[in-house]
Amino acid sequence: MLPTSDIIGWLTQSIRQIERAHWKPARDTTALPSGVTALDSLLQAGGIPRCGLIEWLSPSPGSGTMTMALTLARLMPIRTGVWVYIDRHGDLHPTALRQLGINLDRVVVVRPPDPRDVLWCWEQSLRSRGVAIVLGDVERLPQAAARRLQLAAETGGTLGFLTRPIRMQTQPTWATQRWIVSPSPVTNENTDRGWRLELLRAKDQWTGGVVNVELSDDKQHDNKSNEHLSGVRLVSQLADPTTPARAA
């Protein structure tokens, strides 16, 4: 009798082989280190995938889910290209994007006049090879559409960060990863926001986990190796406090 972990490992590999037999991802699907050590260590692949959809479930508007997703995207070494922001509500504030360290010259804000076009925009943007990342808030996402988006992301090799309301947790997902982002109170003076990230689902992985991250002011620890990251960054609370540089 094999140990359980071996069986799981063997099964995972079989599933992967079956999946690969049916479609071959056009792009490199290896993981990108997110820069937040605790978050990376939670994921077996060692980071956020290079392409695919990541769902961030948000308990309520104002809990800062998109801020977290944007900061993470900025810190990750994602590929060159424009950033597409699908602005469903039509009230994106560019000044905030700039404060997060995002270059406005490469931002494409899409404001579909008809809500029925939102998913079409998502699919077109994810499919394009000139796009680095697609971000936005999606509420209803039917099964077929979710599958299409995931395939589009894999075809185009694009990363898609969706924020969705928490009540969508009950719906099955096709996304590569699904996280719950709940705000945690700000206790530190140098911190702007704090979140508790809970991994609900990740492809090829059966374990979940929790990680606390903070959006912190970088003035405190000015590290030479990371000078171009000065400004906002995410610091995981679980990381060793003596080596904050590794966390970003």
Binding site: S60, P61, G62, S63, G64, M66, T67, R74, L75, P77, R79, T80, G81, V82, V84, H89, D91, L92, H93, P94, T95, A96, L97, R98, Q99, G101, N103, L104, D105, R106, V107, V108, V109, V110, R111, P112, P113, D114, D117, W120, Q124, S125, S128, R129, G130, V131, P183, S184, P185, V186, D192, R193, D217, D218, K219, H228, L229, S230, G231, V232
Partner: protein, 562 residues
């Protein structure tokens, strides 16, 4: 009717119609003063004779606005385009025509040499030019002269209706070519005795000289061309450079002047019509394909691609009594779409896709009998070179422009936006959105190459750039409500900081707050912003951005830290 322009010192008048001129409106006058002039004079409405304008600025519909004030912003590009259209129309009188060489060209030159007998002599010809321009609604001054320089001088500075009979008409270049300035004659004879008669009394400004030169000459007591011409020729260049002599000689016909000809651009278009109407969208698609191909073959030979394309279909005439939801053109239902692209493109498949995207959402008239495609704007396509190793940037640029074309095509250019930061403090004024397909238009006057470089620059490898780190209380929310929503502040702390408020019928308790950040700006506007902003963290974990107005002390929710 006035034109206005935005200078450093507010709105100034750049042009006006005759009636406004009669009221006392002058060029360079502040707009407010001009409006006052109009108000003063409209009370004592008098009938005025038409006095001619010195500049052939289009004075559109001067007759329509009897006493009504029409103020519009002076659009230089549109003005120039209109002047070019007039120039092209003038081909009727002469094959050689052009605009003056100036930063803001206002004059049109026609070379009538040898052609005037077709119109019954130079004077009749000039009258005809003037009459037909007037029929088009333009107030112009037309003068004939043996040189371009003299014609310009006469149109701008000659007293109106002088006794001389030769003073109608545009420029007519002298039949024998102006003499070259080879030998050092002290004052070479002018090309035409008529010039010696009319030019000397004119002011020196008529020589198309820079303002600085004119001022200096006037300080020296030289006011007329005649005075200038008597000065020793050798001493002038050391003081003023060579331009002054050149202009002088050009006016007198001693130096040649080239006519900067307006190039006629032939419209690039493709047409299809048939007696048998199209019945389905598939048939329309097939027609579109062949038309796009025809259009592109015309452009490809020049290594150019489409920037903007207009497509129009005409349906069968509607029988009387039927109501149709279509716009009517030549008594027939018509539909029209415009395809706009980020960068010039000559890819048939992509263009057809863009056309289809729009036709799919447009109601088509029944029984299409005519389809017309016209390229409204085109430019040089980026050469796509295969990179030897890895992917090249142009490929990526190509992908991005295709995506933006597709999105803008289906959702309209106003839906695909590029954020742009402005230097304002009031949050809702600190940014603007420009449609992506138009954001490159701003540079469209420059070479297409610059456009390509700009996109390529946006494609530089991703590198998080350092931000000037803002203080915690100056963070901006990611969602800024379209209009601040009123909230009811129920409890404030002793320092008048927020503690508990009601919004959307729910009570919210503030756990902690950052601020206040005071923003006071725009006292010159009707609704100046005088606010104290707070970022508040609620007990439930949300972060909101709220402010208190200084004047009324009421509270608003302005943003959500999403």
């Amino acid at each position: 009717m006035l034109h206005e322009s935005n200078g450093d010192r507010g709105c100034r008048i750049t042009a006006c119609c005759e009636r406004a001129y009669q009221c006392g409106v002058r060029r360079g006058m502040p707009l407010a003063e001009a409006v006052m002039c109009h108000e003063n004079s409209s009370s004592q409405s008098q009938q005025h004779d038409l006095a001619a304008e010195t500049s052939p600025e289009p004075a559109d519909d001067a007759d329509d606005c009897q006493f009504e004030l029409f103020i519009a912003k002076h659009d230089l590009h549109e003005d120039l385009a209109a002047l070019k259209r007039v120039a092209c129309w003038a081909e009727e009188f002469s094959p050689l025509f052009g605009l003056e060489e100036a930063t803001v060209p206002e004059s049109l030159w026609l070379d009538l040499t040898g052609g005037t007998h077709l119109f019954g002599g130079p004077l009749r010809c000039a009258d005809r030019i003037k009459a037909s321009l007037r029929a088009h609604g333009f107030v112009t001054e037309v003068r004939l002269a043996p040189t371009f320089g003299a014609a310009w001088a006469l149109t701008h500075y000659a007293p109106l209706r002088t006794s001389t009979t030769l003073n109608a008409g545009a420029s007519f270049s002298h039949s024998h070519s102006p003499r070259r300035m080879a030998d050092a004659a002290p004052r070479p004879p002018s090309a035409h005795p008529y010039l010696d008669q009319v030019l000397p009394p004119l002011p020196i400004a008529a020589l198309r000289l820079p303002d600085s030169h004119i001022e200096l000459l006037q300080e020296l007591g030289i006011f007329t061309i005649g005075q200038l011409d008597t000065l020793p020729r050798s001493s002038l260049p050391s003081r003023f450079g060579t331009q002054i002599l050149l202009r002088l000689d050009q006016a007198f016909g001693r130096a040649p002047e080239l006519l900067p000809r307006v190039m006629l651009t032939e419209p690039v278009r493709a047409d299809w019509h048939s007696d048998f109407p199209l019945k389905s969208r598939e048939q329309l698609r097939a027609v579109n394909e062949s038309l796009v191909e025809t259009l592109l073959t015309q452009l490809r030979s020049r290594n150019e691609g489409l920037r903007r394309m207009r497509c129009e279909v005409l349906g069968l005439p509607i029988p009387n009594g039927q109501i149709s939801g279509f716009i009517l053109k030549h008594g027939r239902p018509a539909a029209e779409i415009t395809v706009e692209l980020l960068v010039p493109n000559s890819d048939t498949r992509h263009l057809i896709e863009l056309l289809e995207l729009q036709w799919d959402r447009t109601a088509l008239p029944e029984g299409i009998i005519r389809v017309a495609l016209e390229a409204e704007s085109f430019g040089i396509t980026a050469t796509r070179q295969r990179a030897l190793f890895g992917e090249d940037r142009l490929d990526e640029l190509h992908e991005v422009s295709q995506l933006i074309n597709r999105l803008s095509g289906r959702l309209g250019p106003q839906a695909i936006l590029k954020p742009h930061a402005l230097t304002e403090h009031t949050p809702e004024r600190a940014f603007e959105f420009i449609p992506w397909v138009r954001c490159l238009d701003r540079s469209s006057q420059r070479a297409e190459k610059a456009t390509q470089q700009r996109i390529a620059a946006a494609m530089t490898p991703h590198r998080p750039h350092a931000v000037d780190r803002t203080a915690s209380h100056q963070l901006r929310p990611l969602r800024l409500l379209k209009a601040p929503e009123s909230i009811e502040m129920q409890v404030v702390t002793q320092e008048h900081h927020p503690h508990r408020f009601r919004w959307q019928n729910l009570a919210h308790f503030v756990r902690q707050h950052w601020g206040p950040e005071t923003i006071t700006e725009g006292w010159w506007r009707d609704d100046p912003a005088e606010r104290d902003y707070f970022r508040v963290e609620l007990t439930t974990g949300q972060h909101y951005w709220i402010f208190r107005r200084h004047t009324v002390q009421d509270w608003f929710l302005h943003g959500i830290f999403e």
